[in-house]
Amino acid sequence: MRFITLMILVPLLFFKICLGGEVVVYTSEDKVFSEPVLQQFEKKTGIKVRAIYDTEETKSTGLVNRLIAEKDNPQADVFWSGDPVRPVLLETKGITTPYISSSASDIPEIYKDNVGHWTGFSARARIILYNTNLINMDERPLSIFDLAKPMWRGQVAMANPLFGTTSIHMAALFITLGDEKARKFLQDLKANGVKVVSSNGEVKRLVARGEVKAGITDTDDASVAIKEGSPVKMEFPDKTSIGTLIMPNMVSLIKNGPNQENGKKLIDYLVSSEVEKSLAWATCAQMPLRYDVRTPADVLTIDAVKGMDVDYHAVAQKLDEIGEFLKQWAGY
């Protein structure tokens, strides 16, 4: 009898395992925000999600290096990037494969690759974070160009422009302003004693502690600082001129990944309005790319922020071009 029960139960166990299968996702989106989303997908579909997250120390590039190194025998099915440029880089290296998700049909075209190598959803933006104990509302900088003025001498922090979203922001500035003006701005900023630190998180820390009056960082860092009760506020810069850089999350399907079909299902889920809504309500307060997703009162919708008019392919290419200049500027 025991033997017969066993014979019935064992295949059932396998049936349970094989029912949904699994999907491997590498994500550079912060774990605190991405993990609940992935768990929700797991609950909904029964597909086991095996995730690898990136760390602050590797400046969200550890996984990209890993994907490049694993190219000949990919282990991942999906790459969920916290920024819009790394997927373009992976595309150029032949690591991603096109997939156009039907659930992304209502996402504006500028946030999607027309071939399908990457699809955008929920965005962050570059902002100026300032310390409200040291600056009052009237004094706050309204433009990133204000930060190169003498009144901000030695009072501004920004992350190393060679890495992360700061590097993308700089490349976007070079495209928008032209090389000459952008170089001059960065040199003025340096001459004005800008404090170059290791990460956007460090910028947030310095501003929150009052070590500097203001800093350039991302909306999610600012939002966390505000929710922690730090004396800081954020300002979307250059509302009346060039706007600020909008950085959607991007998701890509990895070429020859071990679970392609499940990878596609995960992409369908990630680009859905449900995920955009949950990321808007999370502490990272990301802006949905759809206009009809309900957000908390303090989270702006994408149409309320003036974004820089850039193409992410062009940004990736520009980043490559200006790498040497940024390296010298940062003293490397």
Partner: protein, 537 residues
């Protein structure tokens, strides 16, 4: 035959785990567009910019080594040779700065010495120093050295302490008949433990050379930040590998200098089994100095970072949240750390023996060979392991998809370290003890079991402890190779630290400290029991 086969086996393990992945990386950095090329190496030796970067790295490593030795050698001495009250508490506490990720220690000190920091305000009020100058000190090579030495001095302390415990007390007792304690320490004790001290200094020097976290946090331009830039800004693994080359050259030069220094010198000590225990100096003055010194180090290296963490963890619920986040990490860290440390100790033991005790022409070349790649940064090793192990074939896929790839990563990073520690403790064991066993007709395994392993007891303990602490804190290689579901505590900490509330990050750091100290305490207690039992036999 037994000896040759065993040593050959462990040397092969070393070559497969450490040598091949790194050699793979250096090999591929010599090829560009399918042709042999020095394009990535040319700039390093011909550009003025790199001279400055290499100099910065050397300054950082030199100051860190000097400061770590200033703290670690006396601390080790007071722990091993005096009747210091609360000796064991001090010892366990002194391991804490090594366990707390250097990045966290860096942030704690940056907060204290930054422009609005508590210590900065205090210093600028009561000394002629301005707040800017103190803050500038923090964000400089000197500030980075200061924090790194806080982080690394336990290596010097542990190795000094265990080397002192190995010294035959009869030699010191004979000295004390004719001279003062100071003379005995200077003329007998210190020369006898010189290999261990020098080895610990070399380890600290090379670890500082290959450290990335602190220079990156404080924006100091050294070789590792250059390597990171190539990897993370330009995705150029070949250029990054090439920039690691000066680190290898420096390691080789150090190795040669060490060999020249030790040539013709003997450090044979009959060891503990010839006597019973270690000589302790009872002088009141020495104990008082010991208390003052250890308290100073305790405040500087333990109280300051720990207080910062405890204060910023704020609520009990933060610990609950942190614990929830770290559940898997805790289990994995203890398991992998213990497995890794045991692997490193076993393989390190035989490699240490091979490089120190095998009488052949090979001996002089094996030691530097094992040490060769110790300074290679974690990322280069990680990518090398992926290239070698990530293959669809059965055994490779099994290793790459399981915890064994993490253990391999620990091996690749720290085998030179554990074998070096072992080698220097082997220096203290006379060849005649093994020869006596051979004369008696014992097999090599029996000689190992009955003579070599017991005599090497403190070396094994020191190697396991240091290896465990290194494995538990390892991030750079693990992050590149760990399979899903196998994340360790440092990975948990660094993946949540950006956008988790500061109190959870602090609580998580404290959990890392406790989770590392717990198995360490158990290990220390058990080994102490065994070592005491052996000594009594």
């Amino acid at each position: 035959m037994q000896k040759r086969l065993t040593l050959g086996f462990f040397f092969t393990v070393f070559v497969c785990t450490t040598f091949i992945p790194i050699l793979w990386m250096f090999g591929s950095s010599l090829y560009e567009d399918g042709r042999f090329s020095f394009v990535y190496y040319r700039d390093i030796f011909l550009t003025q910019r790199y001279v400055k970067v290499i100099l910065n790295s050397l300054i950082l490593a030199s100051i860190t080594t000097a400061l770590s030795s200033l703290a670690g050698i006396p601390a080790g001495f007071f722990l091993a040779k005096t009747n210091l009250p609360l000796k064991n508490v001090f010892k366990i506490c002194f391991l804490i700065p090594f366990i707390i990720p250097s990045y966290i220690v860096g942030i704690a000190w940056a907060n204290l010495l930054g422009r609005t920091g508590f210590l900065n305000t205090l210093l600028s009020q009561y000394t002629p120093l301005s707040p800017e100058s103190i803050s500038n000190f923090m964000y400089s090579l000197y500030g980075a050295s200061f924090i790194l030495s806080i982080n690394l001095f336990p290596v010097v302390m542990l190795m000094t302490e265990y080397a002192l415990k190995n010294v035959n007390p009869r030699l010191e007792e004979s000295g004390l008949i004719v001279g003062s304690i100071f003379q005995v320490v200077r003329q007998i004790t210190l020369p006898l433990i010189a290999p261990a001290i020098l080895s610990s200094m070399m380890i600290v020097f090379i670890l500082s050379l290959s450290e990335f976290g602190i220079p990156s946090l404080l924006q100091v331009n050294v070789l590792t930040t250059q390597i990171f830039t190539q990897f993370s800004a330009f995705y150029n693994e070949k250029a990054a590998t090439a920039i690691a080359f000066p680190l290898i050259v420096i390691t080789i030069i150090l190795m040669i200098l060490e060999q020249v220094y030790f040539r013709g010198k003997s450090f044979d000590i009959l060891g503990r089994r010839a006597s019973n225990g270690t000589i302790h100096y009872q002088e009141r003055g020495l104990t008082v100095i010991g208390i003052l010194f250890c308290t100073f180090i305790f405040i500087l290296c333990v109280i300051v970072p720990l207080t910062t963490l405890i204060v910023s963890s704020k609520t009990v619920s933060a610990y609950y949240d942190a614990f929830r986040l770290a559940k898997i990490g805790i289990k994995n860290t203890i398991l992998y750390g213990s497995l890794g440390a045991t692997f490193l100790t076993v393989v390190g033991f035989f490699l240490g023996y091979l490089s120190e005790k095998v009488q052949s022409k090979l001996r002089n070349s094996i030691a530097p060979f094992i040490w060769l790649f110790f300074a290679v940064p974690a990322t280069v090793i990680g990518v090398g392991l992926i290239k070698v192990c990530n293959r669809p074939e059965g055994i490779f896929q099994f290793i790459y998809g399981s915890l064994w790839i993490i253990i391999l990563g620990y091996g690749a990073r720290f085998l030179p370290l554990s074998s070096r520690i072992m080698a220097n403790y082997f220096k203290q064991i006379s060849n005649s003890t093994e020869e006596a066993g051979i004369v008696m007709g014992a097999s090599w395994f029996r000689i190992l079991k009955k003579i070599i392993v017991p005599l090497q007891g403190y070396g094994i303990v020191a190697a396991w402890l240091i290896s465990f602490m290194f494995c538990v804190g390892e991030l750079g290689t693990t992050i590149l190779v760990y399979p899903p579901g196998h994340e360790t505590l440092p990975i948990t900490l660094f993946t949540v630290m950006v956008n988790s509330p500061a109190n959870i990050v602090s609580a998580l750091s404290l959990i890392i400290v406790v989770m590392t100290l717990l198995p360490l305490g158990i290990f220390l207690a058990t080994t102490r029991y065994f070592l005491t039992t052996e000594a009594k036999e």
